[in-house]
Symmetry: C2
Subunit: 206 residues, 2 copies
């Protein structure tokens, strides 16, 4: 295979509280061969979150400056905080032939889809809506109003599943990770990645 | 999930000698959760092949009668023998919600695609054309003319890869099987399979 293929862009999205971060961390621990995109955010770090690993934690001023310089692939305000995806890192990774995963909220994912329609979009689902509410409550960092607001947003976001390629139920983190790894393996086997090689084989003989 | 989904139709195809049968047998030994379609053929059984497991071995008269009764999903003559796919078994399996794999030559696969465009079509590739020729020679059951004819057909068939969804290199049988299993897992996660469930969730709340 002489032609180096571009990397695959995996976008993992889903409602707040569904466990996107947990699944991404587990994928990393399992040694999945992926580059992990790091988002920028203005929200306060949760316990254990590390700057440059989980997020780039930015002040609102710093974030605004990134928006103005067009340094973000997408950005959105969510529950009073900004979240965004630094553009250059994603583009460089794909050009180098490495696969990259973005963990991102639903609106942001759709903006990325406009720019990278060839990306692979995975919607992470809770086992049920009740279970989603339990998870938001158990996290314990949110007030009752925030919980209600998140559940309402979650229902709206679920309607957007039609824009995605895959849907994975996060019933058990390890099982969800295995499904994502399978999707990655399958996408690496898409015939488009072999067509150039095959044409060379046929030409060499003639 | 109250709505029972239709099964997935996997079609594994590729040039003669690439190892379709070996890969299918290995998938079965690995306990892959799949129903294996059994083709009908008029060719002579090879050593170890069992009627009703590897093929339904038919006389030319029996095969012609199946064609006339429209009992075959597709059939083709290849190197002087008929091969075909009994229709009812495939349709019943899919309707029951089970996934089924067809191991089939390239022309037949394209005929199946006309009837089941929603099927998942996998093209099995040799590591190289030289390697394909070695495998046909090593099999030891073919004359030199047959080998030349098969290589010429193989090159023509390789051009048809564009009609497939996935391409898998059969460099090592176990690795090829793992890729097929990953494709099956990924296809089971296609968002189309979850859309009905999600609509029910949203309706229940409103």
């Amino acid at each position: 295979m002489t032609n180096k293929n571009r990397g695959i862009l995996l976008v993992l999205s889903g409602p707040s509280g569904v466990g996107k971060g947990t699944v991404c961390n587990a994928l990393r621990k399992m040694g999945t061969e992926l580059v992990y995109s790091v988002s920028a955010t203005t929200r306060t770090p949760r316990e254990g979150e590390v700057h440059g690993v989980n997020y780039f934690f930015k002040s609102r001023e710093e974030f605004s400056s990134m928006i103005e310089s067009d340094d973000l692939l997408e950005y959105a305000e969510y529950c009073g905080n900004y979240y965004g995806t630094p553009r250059e890192f994603v583009e460089d990774t794909l050009a180098s032939g490495q696969d990259i995963i973005l963990e991102i909220e639903v609106q942001g994912a759709l903006k990325v889809k406009n720019k990278f329609p060839e990306g692979v979009f995975i919607f992470l689902l809770p086992p049920s809506l009740d279970e989603l509410q339990s998870r938001i409550v158990t996290r314990g960092t949110e007030t009752e109003d925030v919980i209600k607001s998140r559940m309402s947003i979650a229902r709206d976001e679920l309607r957007l599943i039609e824009h995605y390629d895959y849907a994975i139920v996060n019933d058990q983190v390890e099982a969800a990770c295995h499904r994502i790894q399978a999707i990655l393996t399958a996408e690496r086997c898409r015939k488009e990645r072999m067509v150039t090689t095959i044409k060379q084989w046929i030409e060499e003989v003639q």
